[in-house]
């Protein structure tokens, strides 16, 4: 019994010294959590409402090009891409028997080196793609339009079409 107590004493004694040596009462750490939620935001920062007035023959002949028409501002803290589509396959307004299709509007990311793509009611890649997303961050994308209905559709002043931009991280 005496030997057991003696053994216990020698086991515990270094333990007390150890605790004292490492007591950090003059140095402490404290953690602060910063909880960052997923951000995925797209805003039409300029050019939300575009008007194309075909008031000259030359405009009907050549169409109207709207350079730098619309600016999108994106914020995303995950890899992202943006698509574009029209709300419907055809414009509203005009004459029902001769609907004006969305494809008379062509779009491109601003820059003469980029080619125009006809607008449709299905999502099409505007910036990056689902398989090749852009890295997280914030910035702007500027879009050009070329609108060319030609002489096919009856005159009217109420042709209208909604364009939908979608940012995604899926």
């Amino acid at each position: 019994m005496k030997n057991s107590l003696r053994l216990l004493f020698f086991v515990l004694l270094p333990g007390f010294f150890c605790v004292d040596a490492f007591s950090q009462t003059r140095y402490l750490t404290k953690t602060v959590d910063i909880i960052v939620p997923t951000v995925l935001d797209l805003e039409v920062s300029s050019g939300a409402n575009q008007i194309a007035d075909f008031n000259q023959t030359s405009k009907i002949d050549n169409g109207i090009e709207l350079l730098g028409a619309t600016t999108l501002t994106y914020k995303s803290n995950k890899a992202w891409f943006i698509t574009i589509k029209s709300s419907d396959a055809n414009f509203t307004g005009g004459v029902a028997e001769t609907p004006m299709p969305a494809s008379i509007i062509k779009f491109r990311v601003n820059g003469s080196g980029n080619s125009y793509t006809p607008l449709t009611a299905s999502d099409q890649s505007l910036v990056a793609t689902m398989g090749s997303k852009y890295p997280r961050g914030t910035g702007t994308t500027i879009i050009d339009f070329h609108i060319n209905p030609g002489y096919i559709y009856p005159p009217a002043d109420n042709y209208s079409l909604q364009i939908i931009y979608t940012i995604s991280n899926l």
């Binding site: 150890c18 003059r26 140095y27 602060v32 959590d33 803290n77 914030t138």
Partner: protein
Amino acid sequence: MFILSLGIEGYTQTEPALPSPCLNNGNTKQNNMTVTGTTTFTFNTLTDFSNSESLNNITVEVKSSENYRLYIAGEMTGLSSSSTNTPIPINTFTVSATNRGTAPATITLSNSYLEVAQFGTKTNGLTHVLTITRNALNNFVQAPGTHTLTLHIRYCQY
């Protein structure tokens, strides 16, 4: 086994280099520091990323038999180790303390110790409330999730 684990814990702390002077006089009972409170920054709206936010939930109480200075450093841990994440820059945060004495009113947090409070005599318990400010974080290059800022808090006699 118990003793071994204490030893390991003591060595795994990566404290920044000590400021100078940093005296270690007196016994532990009369010379110690306690830190209480928790701080969590959240972003409830998109505009929160463009604004700063200040929280004052952390309190440091110092008992000292001699005059002392209080120092704070910081480091980002947690998500910052992820290969795809950009850590929150440590200088996004500023810290100020009550009862700061001649210490600067506000410090911009860094990996090295900076003085946040100074007290020119002994005390049986002086409280320093820390105000931690997170500045704008609106470049969205940090991955979503919980990022952890570790504050190193050191009390030194001088």
